[in-house]
Amino acid sequence: MSEAANSMNAEAVQEKFEPKIIGYLCNWCSYAGSDLAGTSRMVHEPNVRIVRVMCSARVDPDLVLRTFREGADGVIVLGCHIGDCHYTDGNHRTIKRIPMLKKLLEISGIEPDRLHLEWVSASEGEKFVQEINGFVERIRKLGPLPKGLKR
């Protein structure tokens, strides 16, 4: 194949890049919020695979790292607003862990924007759609997770 064709191919691949994103959603607020978005027939980007967890604090940093390793280009963690946690203060732990992990990603040279934490309540279907769309757009701009980090 000629060099020109090669680079055209590369461009075509670049254009076609659709990020694979894993969303960890808390069962009590954010998952209900996504459900509301669904029942309200709101449309959002289809790139997010949702994993329902019982609490955003259940999202161990090790789990996020393994998710990247398994091929996620981005990981979004959604939980209850502070004060609304079903377990009173589960998200008081999330709020420490996820930002610290983001910092560690930055220290290791991985874009910290690939990980995102936001609070979405059960009534915020619209916010859920905005968060997902915004995050997908951001990862699209960042491009795929650098080669070699994935399996």
Partner: protein, 260 residues
């Protein structure tokens, strides 16, 4: 031998403390080399040795596990004291049953990237200033885009010997995440950056006592102190928490945020 510590004065002090205890945890010269040892209360400490570094805190933990009632004197350097404090926070050692005798490190001994080469309470000798490893500031000057490539070249040499974990004076988990197949692929060399080195760095964020032994032990010369120290500095900036200083500072990442 340590230049800043008068060994005879130290011996005298230790003998005095040893008399009202059940044993002294320190190093001993033997015909087969220097080994960690529990000296008897009657020992004249003629064979006392100060170098090399060993995992004093881990040894004390094992001793206390076997003999919870023993009152031990422990000869500690700065890092040993910090490690014991971290272990005590996590209920691994009982500081109430220990008498710590602190000595500073001399500059010749400091090849372990230590910024705080003396314990909080020095019994004999004078502290010398620690120095921040130059490699950390050099790393911080590196553009963000080059960092990942930097780590890759280093991490590609990793032989997954677990030396960094095994030497670590504050690692004690019975079940280590780095051996857990849920996180780390078995039988894969070199181990992946994200699921091995970064997982370990995350676990070290609030625990690392900045002794630098991991990097000193690494057969592949991976500059691990950069990773661990930068993240523990972040914990210090964000939460004002520094490990190994006081038993009253509770492990910050394990606790909930009081005022989010």
């Amino acid at each position: 031998m340590s230049a800043v510590v008068d060994i005879d004065a130290l011996r005298a002090l230790l003998k005095q403390k040893l008399a009202d205890s059940d044993g002294l945890v320190a190093l001993r010269n033997t015909p087969s080399g220097v080994l960690p040892h529990v000296f008897d209360p009657q020992d004249d400490l003629a064979d006392l040795a100060l170098m090399p570094w060993y995992r004093a805190a881990t040894l004390v933990r094992q001793l206390q596990h076997e003999k919870p009632e023993a009152r031990l004197v422990v000869l500690v350097r700065g890092c040993d004291e910090r490690a014991l404090i971290e272990m005590a926070k996590r209920n691994q050692v009982d500081l109430d049953k220990l008498t710590l005798v602190g000595i500073p490190c001399s500059s010749e001994e400091m090849d372990c990237f230590c910024e705080r080469p003396a314990p909080g309470k020095i019994d004999i000798g004078e502290a010398e200033p620690g120095k921040r490893p130059e490699q950390i500031d050099q790393y911080l000057e590196m553009p963000q885009e080059e960092r990942l490539a930097f780590w890759r070249t280093h991490v590609d040499r990793c032989i997954k010997c677990y030396g960094c974990r095994n030497i670590c004076p504050v690692c004690f988990c019975e079940e280590c995440a780095l051996e857990e197949e849920s996180w780390v692929d078995h039988a894969l060399l070199p181990p992946p950056l994200v699921t091995f080195h970064i997982i370990r760095a995350m676990h070290m964020a609030e625990r690392c006592i900045r002794c630098g032994q991991c990097e000193a032990a690494c057969p592949a010369d991976i500059p691990l102190t950069i990773l661990y120290r930068l993240i523990s500095e972040e914990v210090k900036d964000k939460f004002g928490y520094e490990s190994g200083i006081s038993v009253d500072d509770k492990p910050v990442m394990a606790l909930k945020e009081e005022n989010p």
